[in-house]
Amino acid sequence: MDSKYYIVILAIVAVIAILPLAMYSGLGEEEGYFGGADDAAGTAIEETGYEPWFSSIWEPPSGEIASLLFAIQAAIGAIIIGYILGYFHGQANERKKMEKEGEK
């Protein structure tokens, strides 16, 4: 696949992520939109009368801290991917250069 198609694919992914925001534009958490599916399941379970028997040992004290930790999680992953794929990319370029020089 040509690398130019990457942009097309990534654009489709962006549309998939943005479409719901456009569909429910103006609606927020207060109206019951864009909450987590995990929490929705938790609520459904509590409706059956079940009481959770254990709670998290530590919870991020606020939404801000939680988003900090999520950002760190994504950053750790992204830096590893970028570093290694960048390294591979450099190797591939170097290989190509050497092959070219060999042909001369």
Partner: protein, 228 residues
């Protein structure tokens, strides 16, 4: 797909732990074996783990109006086999349970089962199936990643309705399927597409490693060689 801390009766926590622990242990042995036999694949192991880290941290909105996240387990499973992906999923889930109060230690076994076992096994089987049928690796990886993602959530719905068959199993299952699986459909497609991009790029940069790992055949390798 994270079942929240304390939201499964302890008997079920135990059941899922008993199923998951041997798989993760087997995965650790597999990782040792793969890195010993093929040290060149180590960076790819890190990339697949990192891919799971990134994707499972992205909570995306869905057309049902709630948010959920991809799992990222398809890539690791296709490259290294399902058990290795189980280990990666276990690491991600422990991180999220301890630092983010997302999922939990009591429900860890259940969450490893859905995200780290069912998803990767599905991905691996589908990729193999498409490959053996002569389909292109990109079609294989798309279907593998998308369906692994979706079935992870179906598994969570199943786990919850087994533990809470209120009023009946079928009603509970429909309910949880609506919460999890329907929300997940567009996100599964997004995950499939993202996995295609990273897989295609890896395939172009290092087809030799993918061939040693038996992910692509020699014919595909010749085709992608020298494209970058």
């Amino acid at each position: 797909m994270h079942i929240m801390e304390g939201f499964l009766p302890w008997q079920w926590c135990l059941v899922w732990y008993i199923i998951s622990i041997p798989v993760v242990a087997y995965g650790v042995i597999q990782i040792k074996k793969i890195t010993d036999e093929n040290p060149e694949s180590k960076p790819l192991l890190a990339v697949s783990g990192a891919f799971m880290f990134v994707l499972s941290s992205l909570k995306l909105p869905s057309v049902t109006g709630s948010c959920s996240h991809p799992t990222g387990s398809g890539l690791g499973a296709v490259l290294f086999g399902p058990a290795v992906a189980s280990v990666m999923a276990a690491i991600v889930l422990v991180f999220q349970a301890l630092l983010l109060a997302h999922g939990g230690l009591t429900t860890l076994g259940a969450n490893i089962f859905s995200m780290g076992i069912v998803g990767p096994v599905v991905a691996w089987l589908i990729y193999k199936g498409v490959k053996n049928a002569g389909g292109s690796p990109l079609l294989g990886i798309f279907l593998a990643a998308a369906l692994a993602d979706l079935l992870t959530y179906v598994t969570t719905a199943l786990q919850l309705s087994l533990a809470f068959p209120v009023p009946t199993f079928t009603v509970a299952f429909t309910n949880f399927m609506w919460i999890f699986a329907v929300t997940q459909i567009p996100l599964a497609i997004a995950e499939g597409l993202l996995t295609v991009v990273i897989f295609d790029y890896i395939m172009k940069l290092r087809p030799d490693i993918l061939e040693t790992l038996k992910v692509i055949g020699p014919r595909v390798k010749e085709k992608v060689k020298g494209v970058v």
